[in-house]
């Protein structure tokens, strides 16, 4: 077995023996979202890096947790393949995109393509997990269809370290679409949502959508013939490829104008940035400071005043949830929406079974015990 892996497992066992706690990190790009615990030592996964196996004809790539996402995407692109759910890669202070594949799975965050192609969970085929006993466990595998045992590898997507440190993952990949095209429309939010619902009900190669400040943009992806036929049918203004590409990449990595402004607002007056996950047909929410709509209406980013709690009530009433990404007062990032008691009990027992000594500090989105 790999020495680094043995070392990681040893670190966990030592921490258990010393009654210490560990914070798992990769590129550290989501530290603010995960929340910092000052007395936790760091289990740095970056040393365990590299692509273990990649067979383009199998549509599967297996990589170590510390592998930067940009490296994986580069290797995939050389063979005309991609991670179609656009995981955000996030930049560090120097503007380098340093998010890792382990962090991608642990956070479960996906970008613009999410509504059309599925999320991180849907592409996880297998994982090697280091649990809180220092045991290395394989779940899932490297094949598309696998129902042997419980699908623990998919449960790791968005687990924020609550079940252990993800050491390796196998991901389903897809061929890059033959054609991509961006269309732009002038549109109020309500009208934009109506258009999106209408299109989504048709067999159109609609791959991503975003609405911000009376502009709706959609990305079409698929076979050449399908994309050009759909563009003709849908109308709108055709955006040049280069511009379109840069736009979607900026949105994906949350470096877009909306996010820059939201961060400035947070620094200026503690305005909060919320991510609302909603049933897509939820009507337009009353105006807050700013709103950006993605995923055909299923994801809405909202900038609201520091102490504005209306946003979470709106999300809950619509049957969704609200996650505070940054800003605001109090604890910082975290879910404002509580878990049902029965589910909370399952979470606690799961956590006890994967990490009985509580050696791993889960990211804030998983710290329900505190709520």
């Amino acid at each position: 077995m790999n020495d680094i892996l043995i070392g990681l497992a040893e670190r966990v066992r030592q921490a258990v023996a010393a009654k210490a706690i560990l914070r798992i990190r990769g590129g550290n790009t989501k530290a603010a979202m995960a929340g910092v615990i000052s007395d936790a030592a760091t289990l740095d996964m970056r040393a365990y890096s590299g692509i273990v196996d990649y067979a383009p004809s199998e549509l599967v790539i297996t990589a170590r947790a510390g592998t930067p996402l940009v490296e994986i995407e580069k290797v995939l692109a050389e063979r005309g393949q991609c991670l179609p759910f656009d995981p955000p890669r996030f930049a560090d202070a120097d503007g380098r995109l340093c998010g890792t594949v382990g962090g991608m799975v642990a956070s479960g965050l996906a970008g613009p393509g999410r509504a059309a192609v599925g999320g991180v969970r849907d592409y996880v085929l297998g994982a090697l997990l280091l649990n809180g006993r220092g045991e290395l466990l394989h779940f899932g595998g490297q094949v598309m269809k696998n129902v042997a045992g419980y699908d623990v590898s998919r449960l790791l997507a968005g687990s924020w370290g609550a079940l252990g440190a993800i050491c390796e993952v196998s991901l389903k990949v897809l061929p890059m679409p033959m054609a991509t095209l961006t269309l732009r429309f002038d549109s109020r939010q309500a009208e934009a949502l109506e258009r999106l619902h209408g299109w989504a009900g048709q067999a159109l190669p609609l791959n991503a959508s975003v609405w911000w400040r009376d502009t709706l943009a959609v990305r079409l992806r698929g076979a050449r013939a399908a994309v050009s036929a759909a563009a003709q049918r849908m109308g709108g203004e055709l955006i040049p490829d280069e511009l379109g590409h840069a736009f979607w990449e900026g949105l994906r990595d949350q470096r877009d104008e909306f996010f820059i402004e939201a961060r400035h607002a947070a620094e200026r007056d503690k305005s909060a940035l919320w991510r609302l996950s909603l049933p897509p047909t939820t009507p337009v929410l009353p105006s807050f400071v700013d709103t950006l709509v993605e995923w055909g209406g299923a994801q809405r980013w909202i900038v609201a005043g520091a102490e504005d709690t209306l946003v979470m009530h709106r999300a809950e009433r619509a049957g969704g949830s609200a996650f505070r990404v940054s800003g605001g007062v109090g604890d910082g990032a975290g879910y404002a929406t509580p878990l049902a008691p029965a589910l909370l009990a399952i979470h606690r027992r799961l956590r006890e079974s994967f990490d009985p000594h509580g050696v791993f500090v889960p990211g804030r989105p998983m710290r329900f015990q505190e709520s």
């Binding site: 269809k145 129902v147 042997a148 067999a203 698929g222 897509p280 995923w295 878990l339």
Partner: protein, 536 residues
């Protein structure tokens, strides 16, 4: 020989938190097929008396909760429930409950929980791994009465359906809106969405459209103690761990599902299918890899070997090429322009890979004819042989030809025939081992044949079950695929949902002692050479 019947054990033993070890370590001895040994209930007199007593206790408790017609316990009433689609394993339950409301489901679960009685949920009973096979000491909870389509929301592209609704009934109900429900297991006429959720069912189109998990937004139901629980949400994500991703595919061991919100897919305008013949199975296997490597994701990509083709041709008379060593069915769907573009590319890849004959469906009738044989592979095999055993492992696509050749060798070794039908696009194999169950020697050889296919699949980097589930059937093979620590973690996951271990106990995850008994030193991940590997 059979394991100690925990049949009449007091409830406290059954609900022991160390539930895993109270389950018979060797399930198939308890549920020996009728032609192999005496039925499980031919026990000694005290055991029978205990059984009768615990049956009385359950029936008395449930009578107060259910209308008279919704509770069955006499032998002639419970016998129809003694097996699912895997008929070799049979066991009558203590009783069968057919609740009609969610309140009744909750009350029945709470009562069983109080009494420490195991509960096995059941949909249409079409499963192929014994997942719905009753528990000798337990209640079978049929969700057959939960057959209502609650709501179709065309704008949100979702349907809310009760768990007993048949898979195909969803597509039929939403067809007027231009939608369908994408996963299409071959049993879709009969199987229920609740069963699909339990097994994470696929179908012939799942390479492009995904499995059940990818097409379900939310499942609602009850935990073992009758507490209501909702997993997933109508939004694309929800706070907390993504518990729905383990509930889907959990074979009824984590929760009882009563309602499912499924995603609907716009019906493609056109679908066309290419039927390609190959004179060599290796060429056919390579063609599969070549299609994927070319950047194509067919709507369906299926393979049949020569014996299978002969069997289905005799059954459906679709005009299959009987001289081919293997046949591939490769489908494209979408807009007419899109399909035209894809079919051209598929054709050129298939020819390049050495296809000896190509036929492209000219119309919908012909396309359905191409598929008719594939969809009837199981009944067609049933005509060739008194019994067949269907395997379900998945392997990397590139190894499909290797596996076919290995199976040909195994046919000689075990002196049994095997027809092969593969979901080639995702490497999911369905070898059908033909045997005569009246000949105990043949049954044994068929089981050994199947076990060898599964072990080879794991050695190739695959898995023992692609879509049929582990159930009662593949418990031993789980010992091959997972280490002791991995299985212990899965058992702990089960306990997190169901601390008393009452939902479908004894299935899916074998106990440590059972794996020890299974014996043969399996060391995982290549540390021990598999003799089978030397062939490649």
């Amino acid at each position: 020989m059979r394991a100690e019947p925990f049949f009449g054990d007091p409830p406290s033993t059954i609900s022991d938190p160390g539930w895993a070890n109270t389950v018979p370590p060797d399930l198939d001895h308890v549920v020996a097929p009728p032609h192999v040994g005496a039925p499980a209930r031919d026990a000694d007199a005290p055991a029978l008396a205990r059984a009768a007593a615990s049956q009385r206790q359950v029936v008395d408790a449930l009578r107060a909760l259910l209308p008279a017609h919704a509770l069955l316990w006499r032998d002639e009433e419970t016998t129809p429930y003694e097996c699912d689609g895997l008929t070799a394993y049979r066991q009558r339950p203590l009783a069968v409950a057919l609740p009609e409301t969610e309140d009744q489901v909750s009350a029945v679960l709470a009562a069983c929980h109080r009494l420490g009685v195991p509960v096995v949920a059941r949909g249409a009973g079409t499963g192929l791994s014994g997942g719905a096979m009753p528990h000798a000491n337990g209640l079978t909870l049929s969700l057959a009465r939960f057959n209502r389509i609650v709501r179709i929301d065309a704008r949100a592209r979702t349907a809310t359906v009760q768990s007993g609704v048949r898979n195909l009934a969803i597509s039929e109900a939403v067809a007027p809106h231009g939608f369908y429900y994408a996963p299409d297991p071959s049993s879709q006429i009969a199987c229920t969405i609740g069963g699909n959720v339990a097994e994470n069912s696929g179908g012939v189109h799942c390479l492009k459209y995904g499995l059940t998990l990818h097409n379900v937004l939310q499942v609602r139901g009850f935990l073992a103690d009758g507490t209501p629980a909702t997993f997933g949400s109508l939004a694309l994500d929800a706070p907390g761990l993504d518990l729905m991703s383990v509930v889907v595919g959990s074979e009824g061991m984590l929760a009882v599902v009563t309602e499912v919100v499924v995603k609907l897919t716009p019906r493609p305008q056109v679908a066309r299918c290419i039927m390609a013949s190959f004179s060599d199975v290796r060429h056919a296997g390579d063609a599969v890899a070549a299609i994927i490597a070319d950047g194509l994701i067919p709507a369906g990509l299926e393979m049949m070997d020569k014996p299978m083709t002969a069997a289905v041709e005799a059954f459906v008379r679709a005009g299959y090429d009987l001289s081919a060593a293997a046949i591939l069915l490769c489908e494209s769907d979408g807009t007419p322009e899109e399909v035209q573009e894809e079919i051209l590319r598929m054709e050129s890849v298939l020819v390049g890979a050495g296809a000896t004959r190509l036929e492209i469906s000219a119309n919908e009738a012909q396309r359905l004819k191409f598929w008719s044989g594939r969809k009837n592979a199981f009944p067609a095999s049933g005509r060739l042989s008194p019994d067949y055993m269907c395997m379900d492992s998945t392997i990397p696509r590139a190894r499909v030809a290797d596996m076919l050749l290995a199976i040909a060798d195994m046919e000689k070794k075990f002196e049994l025939r095997c027809c092969n039908v593969f979901h080639a696009g995702d490497g999911n194999l369905h070898p059908l081992i033909l045997f005569d169950a009246n000949d105990p020697g043949q049954l044994q050889r068929a089981e050994a044949f199947g076990a060898e296919i599964l072990e080879l699949s794991v050695a190739m980097g695959g898995t023992i079950s692609g879509e049929h589930g582990v159930g009662a059937e593949k418990l031993n093979s789980m010992c091959v695929q997972f280490s002791e620590a991995e299985r212990a973690q899965m058992l702990a996951l089960k306990a997190a949902f169901d601390p008393q271990g009452l939902l479908n106990p004894g299935k899916v995850i074998p106990t440590l002692s059972r794996c020890a008994e299974y014996g043969r030193m399996h060391v995982k991940r290549g540390a021990l050479a598999f003799p089978e590997l030397e062939r490649f």
